[in-house]
Assembly symmetry: C2
Homo-oligomer: 200 residues x 2
DNA sequence: CGTCTATTTGAATGTACTCAAAAGCGGTGG
DNA sequence: CCACCGCTTTTGAGTACATTCAAATAGACG
């Protein structure tokens, strides 16, 4: 492969242009605010107790965010695949120590947008205020839908629903992470899978 | 009481000015986009299957949003007290049939902002794009925190946490609604309360 | 006071968890 | 190429947290 040090910005531009139209100059300014980063598997991009300084956009690869409880058990809060944003929103907004870790599940190509640059962007190109409003709204809807699923569905139903909605996550995240995301133990998820397999 | 037909807009203006500064004219325009509404207890403000056309701001009183599962059991998604916004975000954003009901828990004074007026507002006063971005961000953080609590805490811990964080909700919402919000049965919540009471 | 709804109680049950161990699955090195 | 190691996934037995169902009690309102 040539172009080793050039970064593929088409994914992120397409994702923005889905909601707001950008001129060439605006696109260029936006890109100039982003910092490319390549990481190998298991790289920590944010850590609990530290202040989260960037929003992360995934060009390619996969990340997860999670908390550790008092027994140091992992609880996966979200996955982020190609085209998704991820951050410890609480820490990023309030610039206070966060509670999440963000870690790569695979080798990944990322773009970092610092809090400072993000606010600059809002001032220089107000359209981005709209863009981030819209994707935050969508994230809120997804988050509420997840709460509804946790309240109304059994463990098995949640797993089936997850498989249908995010089949590609299954290809890069280990099962115990998915169990954690769905709010069940890995052992129980394994039993659910057997139940489904022997039934069909 | 006099001033029967005038509406108290100070609560909502204060809530907006917490994040963006408005001129007199901007405030007046904003207010002109709002439709006051008084409701008695148990009034339905949105219904599953219908398209949600307004964001609702609570001046005074209390609302809840909830879904009905296949057994017609209620699952409370959110409460909204004085100073809070509530809506079926999914339906409002996509203008598709929603899955939530919104209902008053008590006599309430509300302000309705129609989807159309909200978009007008974004065009005429871009600051509102920022305001709604910020409150949506805050709502997202709260929603994710709730997911974390559901994943990491026992039923009793969730109840204690809720009491500390939203003590005033307890004063206007029936216990079975709180049980539902916390993801447990009313019977079990009752037992938790007894356990706590007899312990202290 | 009676009616309606909300809350509490108790017994039986079930869904999902814990703990311990075995099996599978790559990767690495001899 | 096989042996071994570390990690993930599966299995099983016993257990616990929370549910279901039924009924009693308490509160609110006309």
């Amino acid at each position: 492969m040539l172009r080793k040090h050039s970064t593929d910005t088409s994914t992120i531009l397409a994702s923005v242009q889905k909601y707001v139209k950008l001129t060439e100059e605006e696109s260029a300014l936006f890109i100039s605010y982003l910092e490319p980063k390549s990481v190998i598997r298991r790289t920590l991009l944010a850590k609990e107790g530290e202040i989260c300084r960037h929003s992360i956009f995934v060009i390619d690869g996969a990340l997860k965010s999670y908390t550790l409880d008092k027994n140091s058990d992992e609880h996966v809060i979200s996955f982020a695949l190609s085209g998704w944003w991820i951050a410890d929103m609480y820490s990023l907004i309030n610039q206070k120590p966060g509670i999440l870790r963000i870690e790569s599940l695979a080798e990944s190509e990322l773009l970092l947008l610092s809090k400072q640059n993000q606010e600059q962007l809002y001032e220089r190109i107000p359209k981005f205020e709209r863009f981030f409003r819209i994707i935050t709204e969508n994230a809120l809807v997804a988050s509420q839908q997840r709460i509804i699923n946790n309240l109304t569905l059994t463990a098995e139903e949640r797993y089936v629903h997850f498989m249908e909605k995010y089949p590609y996550v299954l290809t890069c995240a280990p099962l115990h992470n998915i169990a954690s995301y769905l709010g069940m133990t890995p052992e129980f998820l394994s039993k659910i899978r057997r139940r489904i397999a022997t039934r069909t």
